[in-house]
Symmetry: C2
DNA sequence: GAATCATATGCACGCTTGTTCATATGATTA
DNA sequence: TAATCATATGAACAAGCGTGCATATGATTC
């Protein structure tokens, strides 16, 4: 049975619409994908992830590197932790973080190239 | 000359910090990268981009496909247009949009796979 | 045990963002 | 020309987000 288009006025052919609809994903996947990108939509977090992809770092050093306050970085790390994107290791007073998610590094690097190629105009 | 660390207390070796710092990008690139990801951080826009990567569509059809109002979609299209991510073509009353930026499709698809592999836990 | 250090957390505030509603624009049709 | 259609736009509002500040926690050092 085809998709019910009862009443709605469409312009492109129904076959076309149907074809596009078939390529759409489940709502849940879409939501999670958007959430993942949300992580990368903040400059501080982008820098944090770049840094953590290069070395395991404690909060203070990370804050120093990305140029944000300890508090801000700690807050953001919680987000990354909750999403399972960073690894966490305690050593005395310090907490060491590193990038858990290798895919993230790939996606980020690819996108940076993309921006470098000139398209991120704004 | 090494990076000036005057006064700040670092924990990891300075060489390590220096190495990580070297891998950091210019502020402008970081900002634009974050902006690009910002585009993909909303479910409606994710759906729009998926749809537009499969076919050229007019506003109404696109709205129908992604399940949002014409107005909402039009607003979002303006954002995408301003960022140079979609192509625009007028035909009579209708305006047809398509994905200008092929990289975007690649990045998006790669990230969807990534989410499918189970990491987008939230 | 007191002081200090590294990190974490709750709250508040300002800013951004996505949507809706109303209206405008511009093209087609009657 | 009037009415209608597709799209665009502006104002307004709610919700979410990033940060600073104060404070808490837990480990080390004196």
């Amino acid at each position: 049975m085809p998709v019910k288009d009862a009443g709605e006025k469409l312009h492109a052919g129904k076959a076309e619409i149907k074809r596009v609809n078939a390529g759409m994903m489940e709502e849940g996947i879409v939501r999670k994908t958007a959430e993942l990108f949300g992580v990368l939509s903040d400059p501080t977090r982008v820098k944090m992830i770049i840094a953590l992809s290069k070395a395991e770092l404690c909060v203070g050093d990370l804050a120093h590197i990305v140029g944000a306050s300890d508090s801000a970085v700690s807050h953001q790390l919680r987000t990354l932790r909750n999403m399972g994107l960073v690894d966490y290791r305690r050593e005395g007073k310090q907490a060491f973080y590193s990038l858990q998610d290798k895919h993230l590094k790939r996606i980020l690097e690819q996108s940076i190239d993309h921006v470098r190629e000139g398209l991120g105009s704004s």
